[in-house]
């Protein structure tokens, strides 16, 4: 069964919850159940809107972390510090690119590989501590710059959930993913 029918199936679930289940639950007088039926429908609707581009998003995040790993590795190497981390970052970034380049990579594999890179980077940031000079400052700048793009992607991804009042200022998901494809 392809994603098109998944989407149809999901929409049928949402319709059922909204038009059949929720009115019945409302009549039961259980406000928690009524609230949760609406939330379930809302979550499924979000899933239906994003199911097509789930893998694209995973790839964009994976490759962005590989780039960040390169920047941090270079900063550490120039400073001559944490040699084990330099090696670990190189290996993690290489794996990330290999997984990213393989059209057969599953979303779960993409996610696991992304997590490896994120763990190495997080370990380094924690290890460097709060100092704001030298290599610490360079790594902090790289992480911040990377986070700006990552956060824009995350806000666009979750925009249908309407967490932000000024939703018109959120960049379009399609535009961000298109930029990553090119």
């Amino acid at each position: 069964m392809g994603p098109d029918r998944w989407r149809d199936g999901l929409q049928a679930c949402i319709r059922s919850l909204v038009t059949v289940v929720k009115p019945a639950v409302d009549r039961s007088g259980d406000p928690l159940a009524s609230e949760q039926v609406a939330l379930v429908a809302r979550y499924l609707d979000f899933l239906a809107q994003r199911i097509d581009v789930y893998r694209d998003r995973g790839l964009a995040i994976l490759l962005s972390y590989a780039e960040l790993a390169d920047r941090v590795r270079d900063a550490l190497a120039r400073a001559g510090t944490l040699p084990d981390s330099v090696t670990a970052l190189r290996e993690a970034a290489d794996r990330a690119r290999a997984v990213g380049a393989d059209p057969r990579s599953r979303p779960s594999e993409i996610e696991a590989t992304t997590n490896e890179v994120k763990t190495e980077l997080s370990r380094i940031v924690r290890q460097l501590g709060p100092a704001e000079t030298g290599v610490q400052a360079e790594v902090a700048a790289a992480v911040t710059e990377h986070a700006t793009g990552l956060v824009a992607l995350g806000r666009a991804w979750f925009a249908p959930q309407r967490w932000e009042n000024d939703a018109d200022r959120i960049p379009r998901l399609e535009d961000i993913l298109d930029r990553n494809r090119t």
Partner: protein, 435 residues
């Protein structure tokens, strides 16, 4: 340069790390096992690495101890009615009647139940009063103390509108989990017709209601922060020393500890925020009693008169720096924009500059921009940790009655991350550049 603890998470306990540097990797199968079924050493290690207030240490250790007990099943109304009767029997002298036990909604973290109680209240004679049971699920978005919540509500009776705190079951001796019982506050948390938002975020008040609510909102915050807490029974609270950074550090450490205990994946930006916070800890100038979640959605009001009838959700209250409450209230997530001017309104009620000026005038306490910025970073960081780490763990293990809501709140993480970035880069509220 200090060295973080790098341990294979599925093996023996790591040696004690230097404070603040314990790092337990996340994301692999063995990392998940560590957090899903925490060994006894985990609570000891995170406790040693991230010292915080005693009551939080107790509550967080309890959370880890009980985590492996499996998915949470919401008790039936029938079971709760029986348990409630037993609880009240242990606390009320004479006969009483419980009627109309029913679920309440509201909030992402605690179970709430309303009922009517007819009893002989001390000094009041035979009365029938509407009450609320506020009880923890097995785990929630915030591991907090019912004892503290009970104490702070009692302490503030007569200072600002709060429920009447009646009884406490601090360890779940009678009820299935720790709980408090307090009076039902009349009113609503949001105006009629406000579209559905999760957990009271981004409430839009019409101008007429803003005019009525905003002055009370600021006045209550000023009254809270100038309340003389020294005469109150706040035995479950730790008092930080003025002129030191320990208050800020306790708050930072509590969040760092929760990040270690709960997360399912790493996030370098979160680490960067923790480093920045550690490097810029502010000194405390005045010890105030804080609400901890002071915003629209957490007060009830009468829609006809515009009167605030009660402040709820005191679970995050603590003794510390007023800038924590101020910065929390100003979080973009809780605000909205004026429909005519487009100006950002704190909690959907009042422009930021007026909010701070009125607060200073009414409280007589200065607002320090450096401290305000530090707490803005802390608050965004804390909410990211709650939504991204704790929310994930609770949902994965099925530990609360609101798992579907917690699955949704993950979606707020990147809005909060933007707030964090803006705070780190000192971008003012409401002036966020396009990404």
């Amino acid at each position: 340069m200090s060295t973080p603890q790098q341990l294979p998470a599925d093996t023996a306990a790591p040696a004690s790390p230097k404070a603040g540097r314990l790092f337990l990797p996340a994301g692999r199968a063995q990392d998940e096992e560590l957090r899903d079924n925490p060994p006894s050493w985990l609570a000891d290690r995170v406790d040693a690495a991230f010292p915080t207030e005693d009551e939080y240490r107790r509550v967080l250790a309890r959370k880890l101890r009980r985590r492996a007990s499996g998915p949470y099943t919401v008790p039936s109304l029938s079971e709760l009615r029986t348990r409630l009767h037993d609880f009240l029997s242990a606390h009320i002298e004479g006969d009483f009647t419980v009627t109309g036990v029913r679920w309440l909604t509201g909030g992402a973290s605690k179970i709430q139940l309303a009922f009517g109680l007819t009893w002989d209240a001390p000094g009041q004679g035979r009365i029938t009063e509407p009450l609320v049971v506020r009880m923890e699920p097995a785990e929630s978005l915030n591991a907090t103390s019912r004892l503290r919540e009970f104490q702070v509500i009692r302490a503030l009776h007569g200072t600002i509108p709060v429920p009447v705190a009646r009884w406490l079951d601090p360890d779940g001796t009678w009820l299935p989990e720790p709980a408090i019982v307090y009076s039902l506050v009349r009113g609503t948390t949001k105006p009629r017709g406000d579209r559905l938002r999760v957990s009271g975020t981004g409430t839009r008040f019409p101008a007429s209601l803003r005019a009525a609510l905003a002055p009370q909102f600021v006045a209550h915050l000023a009254a809270l922060h100038t309340f003389d807490w020294r005469g109150a029974d706040l035995s479950a609270f730790t008092v930080p020393r003025v002129g030191t950074t320990e208050s800020a550090l306790w708050q930072l450490n509590r969040v760092r500890r929760v990040w270690e205990e709960d997360r399912g994946e790493d996030f370098p930006l979160v680490e960067l925020a923790a480093n920045w916070l550690e490097g810029h800890l502010p000194e405390l100038d005045v010890v105030s009693l804080l609400h901890g979640d002071f915003r629209s959605g957490n007060f009830m009001f009468d829609e006809e008169t515009g009167e605030i009838t009660g402040w709820l959700d005191w679970e995050r209250g603590y003794l510390g720096d007023r800038h924590r409450d101020l910065a929390w209230t100003m979080l973009r997530l809780f605000g909205s924009h004026d429909e005519e001017t487009g100006e950002f309104l704190v909690s959907g009620l009042v422009p930021e500059s007026r909010f701070l000026a009125e607060y200073e005038r009414l409280s007589g306490l200065p607002v320090d921009r450096t401290r305000l910025r530090w707490y803005r970073v802390l608050n965004a960081y804390q909410m990211m940790v709650s939504n991204f780490a704790t929310g994930y763990r609770v949902v994965k293990l099925g530990r609360s009655h609101q798992d579907v809501l917690l699955a949704l709140v993950e979606g707020a993480v990147y809005s909060l991350a933007q707030e964090l970035l803006d705070a780190l880069e000192e971008v003012p509220h409401g002036a966020r550049p396009m990404a």
